[in-house]
Symmetry: D2
Subunit: 340 residues, 4 copies
């Protein structure tokens, strides 16, 4: 049993961490922080947890010592506090963007300010078990990747690693509204966001940096908000390398993900759900990955996940399971709903 604390528990990622960790057979949630809601019941912010917990939020300043910390704290504000966090917990799962990019110059380019803890960067392992499982078994500093980054990396990595695609790819990402968080602004008002197809990042979405780092590809990525609360889907386009074809792609993906508990290859020729679709993944930790050849030289790759689960809290819990040697599916058995 591990005693864990969640820092930044009032937001959507924080709530999802709570949901998953309260149901985890090996973890005990010892503290959840919220500066704004300190002293209030957590089920006031997360009504789905009514009857399942009597926890109240505490002020971050009152944290003591824990086996593990889960940081659901804002980008660019987390790096400056990391030394402090390290003093109160053995293992840290950071869900902010601050320690995902190994190159501080790339960080500066995408986040607009210099990195404040460059010396700590080498301590972090990217929290993607499909790529870094072995290192995660011993990692005490884990940087959980972004939601679209996870989808993009899992969509592209096997093809890239096997040399089946040319290095220049484009990604068209679509996302539900929960990615904007619980304190989103007027652009997330229901009347504005409902039924939207909003190209909020026509170019250079931040997550393209993580995807480039993890796949070695040169990535151009746009992001569009569509009508959904949860869910991310990426549609990637690549050129097939000389000699590569769809059969080779299929073999590479089957091999890469055959033993993965949370990645399913979904690439059928027909049928309603023949390619990955996020709506049936809500609440689950699956990332579905598929592809289709576009003629002889081009390839379309698609991945889908729940941005708050495999794209955030669930992936962090999976990393914890790897780190502690627990069954990798512990606390993550929810199948997703159909219809939904």
């Amino acid at each position: 049993m591990a005693r864990v604390a969640i820092v930044g528990g009032a937001g959507y990622i924080g709530g999802e961490l709570l949901r998953l960790l309260l149901g985890h057979p090996e973890a005990e949630v010892a503290a959840v922080t919220s500066t704004r809601l300190a002293g209030r019941r957590v089920d006031g912010a997360h009504p789905n947890l009514r009857g399942l917990t009597d926890l109240t939020f505490v002020d971050p300043g009152s944290l003591e010592e824990y086996d593990a910390l889960f940081l659901a704290t804002p980008h660019t504000e987390t790096m400056g506090r990391m030394t402090g966090y390290a003093k109160i917990a053995t293992t840290i799962f950071d869900l902010s963007a601050d320690f995902r990019l190994r190159d501080p110059e790339v960080f500066r380019r995408y986040y607009g300010l210099p990195h404040e803890a460059v010396d700590l960067l080498p301590e972090f392992v990217l929290g993607l078990p499909e790529l870094h499982r072995d290192r995660l078994r011993a990692a005490d500093r884990v940087a959980v990747p972004g939601c679209m980054a996870t989808a993009g990396i899992l969509a592209l990595r096997p093809a890239a690693a096997a040399g089946l695609i040319e290095p220049e790819v484009t990604i068209d990402a679509r996302t539900g509204s929960s990615g904007s968080g619980a304190t989103a602004g007027p652009e997330n008002l229901h009347a504005e966001r409902s039924g939207a197809m909003r190209v909020f990042a026509p170019t250079r979405h931040r997550h393209e940096a993580e995807i480039g780092q993890e796949t070695g590809l040169s990535v151009r990525m746009s992001a569009t908000g569509v009508e959904a609360v949860r869910g991310v889907q990426v549609l990637c386009r690549a050129r097939l390398a000389p000699g590569a074809d769809e059969r080779a792609v299929r073999a590479a993906y089957r091999a890469a993900y055959a033993a993965e508990p949370f990645v399913r290859v979904v690439a059928q020729k027909r049928g309603l759900y023949r390619l990955p679709e996020p709506k049936i993944l809500s609440g689950s930790n699956f990332c579905d990955v598929g592809f289709a050849a576009d003629g002889e030289r081009a390839l379309v790759l698609v991945a889908a996940l729940d941005n708050l689960v495999k794209g955030g809290a669930g992936n962090a819990v999976q990393c914890m399971n790897v780190r502690y040697g627990w069954p990798e599916r512990a606390g993550l058995t929810f199948a997703g709903l159909h219809p939904n």
Copy 2:
């Protein structure tokens, strides 16, 4: 041609007034105010108007003189400014709630503070042509009713006036999110409001006071937010009076609304759209009204409208048409969309 101004033009009702008045054959929009956006183009706030107008918002303090003012100003803040508005326009169409209730004591009970302009109340005519057309032809102070009130009144009035129902009725109202306005709070964040069935007013929704006033009935009304941007639907329950039956109800509604340009009786025995439904009314000024007997003694009545059009801006324009003797459908010819 009438020179009109819109006060409070940055909100959703203001935008809808703009859309309708810019397309009106007899009106010229001479000014639109917004304290917050003064100096900015109106199509920045209302992107559907791009290419249709070069107007910019002006500060309310810069208003001059107009034939008519449309007030899309906040409840409880409008009454104190009415004397000032009266100095700059002959005719005033007030879309706030402040002058709808004739009895200031009822106002106090539902709005929680005393009425500040009791002496002006008798000058106002309720802006519902279906009930007050004759008085509206000469009215220079028009209080446009609330969205749910309009639906409820039009659903119940013919039955009440003909003595076909007992005086105690209940209303279950459902509404889209645009009724909360363009500056709504966190409860209207997309992730919270999407797919909601939120009973935000289990009892005593404010609009029940208007319905009671206009129908003479004793009304209990709840309101539930459901997934839609535009649209209000009321489902009313009444007891049939002795001797009344569905045939008499049908005759009364056919008679009451036969000549109305914007009320349609929709009460079929079968079919997909056999009772009023708001989704096909978006953008239109129709209020559809229907009913079904529940056994021999009970009656269910249903009405639907677009809260921003027949429930607000469109109804105000219809009142203007009546007031100026223009064709009542001028500027209000949009049919609504199917599918939508």
Copy 3:
């Protein structure tokens, strides 16, 4: 470990039974039938189950013997086959409507044809543990109630049982589209059903019969389809009995549901989720119940649930847990999602 079979596994209730039973610690799904899809993989019809099962559908004629049968078969077609089902399983959980109503005359009135197995009716216990837990511990014929019926009964029963309300109540039910099933007609086409507020049953919705039977109240119920896939909400109106008030109501509900694993009293004075709302219940087996007094004599009661879980498959699994003496929450621990 119990060997169970699902009859009618291709539909939405069938899929949900599969999801829950595949994850149940004490049950083994030995067979799933579908006449139409016999021989095909079940994850073709239920894509959320990919990677979780290799089951294929079998023809109903090939069923053997099981500890328990779950019948997700059509209304009015199940009663004629019940004798056959009884031969192949000790315990039967029937999710059709055929054995819910004790009085065959009431059945005839609501379903339009005579009951074909009147002699079997007394063998059935209504599958609502909150009302019939003791009888369910030994029941081998369980008729699982309808989705809106479950919500209505749980909303009204404590007040009715305690004599706190007058016997005449009205119910306005709202429902998502999944209640129409996986083979629904053109009225359930997305373009028609999306954003709907469709009063498909203005009067005499079938489930009012079950609610009347279980509460002793005289019920008038309408049903409206609103935009959601999963979710049912009922808003009930009753008169408070002489001497009753909101405090007494609260006490009665707290007492009635204090020990229930799946009923939560949600009746707060303020807050975003102060009354029951289905969107946070998707996938969970909770039924949330709340209320608000409307002045001194009237009461509004609200309940919400996921129509496929507590309104169907989940409730059936809960009944199985009761019948076999397993922990009542076994296989039903999913908390629901927020936001969703």
Copy 4:
């Protein structure tokens, strides 16, 4: 005044033609056909038209002679009947796909069967006034382009024509559910289609052929169904040609569309609606077009429209206006709604 008939009036495009033509100042709808609904009122199929028309559907066999025919008939079934249609009307606006592609071999490749009226192909002018206005002034055979094709062509044509982009482009198209028509299959059931992000055409969507033909570009196009009833959005990716930059692109688009009544350039640096978004275009005939440079060499272009209006019926009416020399905006003045 022109007497027009609509062939195939029961579907969504047919209904939209009716809505627009009933409100058109110069057209009289003389007949509307439906084999299935002959003899039934048109407002039974199109409930938004209640009170606006008393027309009934007639059998196609009973058509007489008209000034113009609008064909909302199925792809691949229209070509074989064209000779017959030509006998009963001077001018034909064909909304099927059958005469859009000049090269019958391309038609065969995308539609899977040989063209049956190759000799008629040269008579047709593609119904896109922005490209072919001069020829449309005298055209009696007009092939109205597909919804995504119109968006793609209007997004890409100015850049292609000015040589600002390299010839290889990719397009990711998103569409609402109404594009599947009123007789869509189980994949369009609300419970399946709601909240979808369904890549139904990962490669080779048929409309890429039209886009290639009209722009001279080599197009790879995918199509994804997202949650909306109406609305199409395309996100196109191209390489900037040597010497080209965003400034040159902006100049080209401003010039190309400056005089167009229904194309707006929407390419702002910030703001909620800075790039084209279909939700504010529902019911309107606008196509909004925008772009953003992605570094120094790449360009993202975005276009949005209502698939049933500028993507179909509205565009056909615009072509009629051009053909008859009427004001091009006649009958097409609806602005679109915000919020919506």
